[in-house]
């Protein structure tokens, strides 16, 4: 069954929401998802970005990447993910609420927590693209690059007919192995607002990959920095591909506050990013990557 509601209100209720379809269709083709679809194609008004930085959930990722009203981290993150043909189709909402890329989850040959199963096959299998912060029992990592970017803004997610929630609340703490986010079936994410962008703030995004382009990250990080004079007055540091949710790293932020933005500061701050890391063995190498990626993202922020 498929329906094409004309408004977000009509979209509530039955059916899995389909925006651009890049993630959902992949899962359906693989036989991992099935059932009714509620396609948002005809819903009006969710594809705009306003001057006060409310972004409709159907805004294409390509459009996020080129809208100069958006702060640098958002644009860089949007341009840094997937490929041009995907960014032209995929949407903000779909990206934020996408499912994990775990190779056990994406194979219909394996059962797992996220598919209604009772175990995590990655734990017994090969888990070299998995959690650096193991919050169990599922050790997949979250896939949304925009999720980490919006987390760095404490962005507010708007739901049709429901109260707003912070992005942090949208994702939860990652301890529920059955889910990639805490949005319930039937809820309709209609947009996200950035409320605390700082004029003149700097932003940097980086993912570590083997190839030059177009690869899911080994580890990714987004940073925001703003200044009073020469000193760092505020910082947000968020990492991806290290846990079941995008992860904000307050310890790193703390080390940046009040400091000069130089190599030594950045290195000291990046070094504490792995505090509390408890990687699954196959992914223990990510311990080397997280500080390196954060350091590079901080440097990129200063380049901009």
């Amino acid at each position: 069954m498929i329906r094409f509601p004309l408004t977000a209100a009509e979209a509530k209720g039955e059916g899995e929401l389909r925006a651009g379809g890049t993630d959902l269709q992949d899962l359906r083709h693989r036989g991992i998802r099935s059932g009714p679809i509620t396609d948002l194609r005809d819903v009006q008004g969710l594809d705009a970005i306003t001057d006060d930085l409310r972004i409709g959930s159907l805004v294409k990722i390509a459009d996020l990447g080129r809208d100069l009203r958006l702060p640098p981290l958002i644009r860089k993150a949007a341009n840094g993910l997937a490929t041009p043909q995907i960014r032209a189709v995929a949407t903000l909402g779909g990206n934020l609420l996408q499912r994990t890329r775990c190779w056990y989850f994406r194979s219909r040959e394996f059962d797992c927590f996220k598919k209604g199963g009772t175990s995590c096959p990655a734990r017994e299998g090969i888990a070299n693209r998995h959690a650096l912060f193991d919050r169990g029992p599922c050790i997949s990592v979250h896939a949304s690059t925009l999720g980490l970017a919006f987390l760095a803004y404490d962005a507010v997610a708007h739901f049709e007919g429901g109260p707003d929630r912070s992005i942090a609340e949208v994702y939860g703490d990652g301890s529920d192995p059955t889910r990639d986010h805490a949005v319930q079936a039937g809820e309709v994410l209609v947009g996200v607002s950035i409320r605390d962008a700082i004029p003149g703030e700097k932003g940097g995004y980086l993912r570590a990959i083997a190839r030059a382009e177009a690869e899911w990250p080994i580890v990714e990080a987004g940073v925001r920095l703003w200044f009073e004079g020469e000193r760092i007055a505020g910082a947000r540091v968020v990492a991806g591909a290290v846990a079941g949710v995008p992860l904000r790293l307050p310890a790193v932020e703390q080390r940046l506050l009040g400091e000069l933005a130089n190599e030594a500061t950045f290195a000291r701050a990046a070094a504490v990013s792995i505090e509390g890391a408890n990687p699954v063995p196959d992914s223990a190498f990510k311990v080397d990557f997280l500080p390196a990626v954060i350091l590079s993202a901080l440097e990129r922020a200063m380049e901009a």
Partner: protein, 921 residues
């Protein structure tokens, strides 16, 4: 039903190909045709024409353009938005049509590759730069590049786009043949306005069909009444089939045939092994039928990986002697005899003309004098994964079997089919006009073909079986993973004293992987211990992959050579000149020594974050040919057509024939029509072992020469006076007559066999239709890399390939193939690695997102130097390039990483995490 006792590689016990899942996504994307699926109206324009139809909820935009609109240029490659072969423009923007719901095209303007008529400058540039090989990915690249070009020209005029802009625009496309260097050149030149007007060259005989999307691959075939076939595969890596019940599947409405592909009580030896196949009216009914097949398995814990195969008490993958004999071959050469012990088969020794004990003594001597390199290397399993998956459309009607199949061997396939189904040659036709890449994986009569034939035989209707990407990645074929213990001894006099190569291979259920053979092909001296052991596991069977055994052998051997040169304080070229007596390679070293970036290479490892290094490795490959190759030339009212029962995998065999005939006739190659990919034509070789060009080119020249002779005679017979041969035709007393005009008056057909090489061959007789030339072909590869020691990324920045090619039968295409070989080598060295789940044997790298292939941004600047002087004893000159250009690349990359960082990679791929661990150690 399947006989388990026929020829080894057809053997039913293991059964050639097979994999996966009882479903997955498709060549028609899942759900596309569900009869009961509710439809939604779709109204849009496609290439300017209004279309109104209904589409299903899960129908993809790709399915809509291919099936509903019949526009077959856009291809399904991966089905997950990674490869870009499906790219179409929607309102002028390139989009990934395999994931884009068809319903989202409502109200849109859709543009596909077929729209661009006359040719867009990008298409002309692709043709002129030969920016394609097999052509399967080409329409996707073209559609994307056109959008980039048009935007660039609008914003920047004819200024030159930077490489980074081209890379970024095309980042969502994969070319498995590795044509990126020419693609970059083509896009850049088109943006500069160089193809806006005027003439351009078309070096590839079938290039026009490929850039316009008109080339029809097996996956594009749609016959009247054609059914969709699917293969049910074992989800278990090790099992016994206790019960197999097909009746419920047969009872489903719309199911036309269900056949068993495994014998009763059959043993399952890898996840993905074929169990049964169904043919139904469409994909969704076929899926229903697959789900209705009831299989009961007794499941065992599979043996996965070399260590598990060798472990005490490991469950034997093969139990009985007869089963062992029927294990499929991992390579393409004759298998060396050896013995089995548990799951180990070997060691097999490549000791013909070698002295293993002398090598042992050399190693012993090195304890007191000289130098010894003694290292263990590990290489990964690399899958072929051509962008056109395994595909077959079979039609058995009125006692005649027509098989359209994506194959490297139309002629041999017809022979195998005749033998397997006990048919006569005139009953069987095999057709493969276009093949979307193969690389060694499509040589045999594999399961998709067997299933399609059994299904059409059972129901009398044409049946198509196309595997999906998951299946292709699992059972399509792979280069075995290896562990190589390599010892190289240099004497106190600095001479090469001995080599010991002990290799263990994980080639799944197949046997006969070899690296010793490759080590034997290089360097002077007979002091060699060369041993290969197969570690049999519950993985899918390996297949020959471009230079079988070569890339891992040269990664290990040249790693040791580089190690020795460094420790001895010798320059790499000097060291190679000391040890390498190969005539052509010695010339290459002199050329390389003058290449500016070689000369300016850093002499010591760097210390900063980014470190540059340049490494060198050699390659060798035999000069193979098929003496029985024939080429036919027909000259008549339809012009001049040359034909042979060969195939063009993107390797350019059409152009090789066209050029040979055109050269002899003194006409431009485009005057010669070429027909390949039809088993009914004059017998030609399979395309494997780099033998096609060396086989076909001399035969085509000879046929053309005979045609000239006969046409000249005909001219005299027609009463023309004073006839003499001239370029393009004849001169006679009253003027000139072209060959074409003459042929219209005197239609002529000639078939000629390849002439024997004047100097004879290495062995007096051809074995299995292959002769081995006396000389070895050789190549030298140099690579420059930049290592990011913070994030672990290795970028291949420059490549130089010196290759002893003999005469170039098709120069632009030879360059393309050589560049592709370098690119595939880089991809192998740095990115590709297959993973199987250790507990179940199931594939984890089941899509092109998890199985990573080099993209356009990973392509180094590639310089190819052809030495055309070699092989004067080969008739007409050319030798094959396909293997030679890729064998040395991983070795050169490894050595370059060492030269950059002082850390020697001994494990492939050289992934970022390995780099960080290595450099920080």
């Amino acid at each position: 039903m399947w006989s388990p006792t026929r020829r080894g590689f057809l053997g039913g016990l293991v059964g050639g190909a097979a994999a996966g899942i009882a479903s997955g996504e498709p060549l028609a994307l899942a759900g596309e045709a569900a009869a009961a699926e509710p439809k939604t109206p779709l109204k849009c324009t496609v290439n300017g024409a209004l279309r109104e139809t209904e589409v299903g909820a899960d129908s993809s935009a790709l399915d809509f353009v291919r099936r509903t609109c019949g526009l077959k240029g856009a291809k399904l490659g991966c089905g997950h938005g990674v490869c870009g072969a499906c790219t179409i423009q929607v309102n002028g923007t390139p989009m990934v049509s395999c994931l884009l719901p068809a319903a989202h095209l409502h109200g849109a303007e859709v543009t596909t590759v077929e729209h661009f008529d006359p040719l867009h400058p990008i298409q002309k540039a692709f043709l002129a730069e030969d920016a394609l090989q097999c052509g399967y990915c080409t329409p996707g690249f073209v559609v994307e590049a056109i959008a980039f070009h048009d935007a660039w020209r609008r914003d920047h005029g004819t200024s030159t786009p930077p490489r980074s802009a081209v890379d970024a625009a095309l980042a969502g496309h994969v070319c498995r043949c590795g044509a990126y260097a020419s693609i970059i050149a083509a896009v850049t030149a088109a943006c500069e306005g160089k193809f806006d007007a005027g003439d351009f060259t078309m070096p590839r005989a079938d290039g026009l069909e490929k850039v316009t999307g008109k080339a029809e691959y097996t996956v594009d075939v749609q016959l009247e009444g054609q059914l969709e076939g699917r293969i049910l595969r074992s989800p278990h890596g090790a099992a016994r089939v206790l019960e197999l019940d097909l009746e419920a599947a047969r009872a489903i409405d719309g199911v036309f045939a269900v056949v068993r592909l495994i014998i009763p009580a059959g043993t399952v030896r890898y996840a993905g092994q074929a169990i049964a196949a169904v043919a139904a009216k469409d994909r969704s009914v076929a899926d229903l039928a697959m789900a209705a097949i009831s299989v009961k398995y007794e499941v065992f814990k599979p043996v996965i990986g070399i260590a598990a195969a060798r472990a005490d008490g490991a469950r034997p993958v093969y139990e009985r002697k007869r089963e062992k004999k029927q294990a499929p071959p991992a390579g393409e050469g004759p298998m060396l005899p050896t013995h089995w012990k548990g799951n180990e088969r070997g060691p097999a020794s490549s000791h013909i003309l070698a002295k293993p004990h002398a090598a042992d003594r050399a190693v012993k001597r090195a304890e007191t004098e000289g130098w010894l390199a003694d290292r263990v290397f590990k290489t990964q399993c690399q899958v072929h994964t051509p962008l056109e998956p395994r595909a077959c459309v079979a039609s058995w009607r009125d006692g005649r079997l027509e098989v359209r199949v994506s194959t490297q061997a139309v002629a041999d396939m017809a022979v195998d089919i005749c033998e397997h189904w006990e048919l006569s040659r005139d009953q069987v036709t095999v057709l493969a006009p276009y093949v979307g890449g193969a690389f060694g994986s499509k040589v045999g009569l594999d399961m998709e073909t067997r299933a399609a034939i059994e299904l059409t035989r059972a129901c009398g209707l044409p049946v198509r079986v196309v595997v999906d990407r998951h299946e292709e990645l699992m059972i399509g074929g792979h280069r075995p993973a290896q562990e190589l213990e390599m010892q190289v001894v240099i004497s106190a006099e600095r001479e090469l004293d001995g080599i010991v190569s002990i290799a263990r291979s994980d080639s799944g259920v197949s046997v006969g992987a070899s690296t010793g053979f490759n080590v034997r092909l290089v360097y002077k001296g007979k002091e060699r211990r060369l041993e290969d052991t197969d570690c049999i596991t519950n993985g899918p069977p390996a297949k020959p992959f471009r230079g079988p055994g070569g890339p891992p052998a040269m990664f290990a051997l040249e790693g040791c050579m580089d190690d020795l040169a460094v420790r001895m304080g010798e320059d790499s070229i000097q060291a190679h000149l000391r040890w390498d007596q190969h005539v052509v390679r010695r010339k290459m070293y002199a050329v390389l020594a003058e290449v500016p970036w070689w000369k300016d290479r850093p002499k010591e490892p760097g210390t900063g974050r980014y470190r540059r290094g340049v490494g060198l490795a050699i390659a060798a490959w035999p000069y193979f040919l098929s003496p029985g190759t024939h080429v036919r030339v027909d000259a008549g009212l339809d012009g001049i057509t040359a034909s042979a029962a060969i195939q063009d995998l993107g390797t350019g065999s059409r152009s090789v024939i066209a050029n040979a005939v055109a050269d002899v006739l003194g006409v431009p190659p485009e005057k010669i029509k070429v027909r390949v990919g039809d088993s009914r034509d004059a017998h030609g070789p399979m395309s494997a072992g780099s033998r096609t060009t060396a086989s076909v080119y001399p035969a085509a020249r000879r046929a053309a020469a005979e045609l000239v002779k006969e046409l000249v005679e005909s001219a005299e017979g027609l009463g023309l006076v004073g006839v003499v041969r001239a370029p393009g035709g004849i001169k006679h007393r009253d003027g000139f007559m072209s060959w074409e005009d003459l042929a219209k008056l005197a239609p002529t057909t000639v078939i000629k066999r390849r002439p024997r090489d004047p100097g004879g061959y290495f062995l007096p007789l051809a074995v299995g239709g292959i002769a081995v030339g006396k000389n070895l072909a050789g190549a030298v590869t140099a690579m420059e890399v930049e290592v990011d020691t913070r994030l672990g990324q290795v970028r291949a920045t420059r490549a130089w390939l010196g290759i002893g090619s003999g005469k170039l039968a098709a120069p632009a295409l030879a360059r393309s193939q050589a560049e592709g070989g370098v690119l595939q080598g880089v991809s192998y060295a740095l990115y590709e690695e297959r993973f199987l789940d250790p507990g179940t044997g199931r594939l984890l790298t089941h899509d092109l997102e998890h199985y990573r292939i080099a993209g356009i941004g990973d392509c180094p600047e590639i310089e190819v130097h052809f030495d055309t002087s070699g092989f004067t004893e080969a008739n007409g000159g050319p030798v094959g390039l396909a293997e030679l250009c890729t064998v040395g690349v991983a070795g050169a990359v490894g050595n370059a990483v060492f030269r950059a960082t002082g850390w020697r990679p001994q494990e492939l791929p050289i992934r970022p995490e390995r780099v960080l661990a290595g450099v920080r150690a």
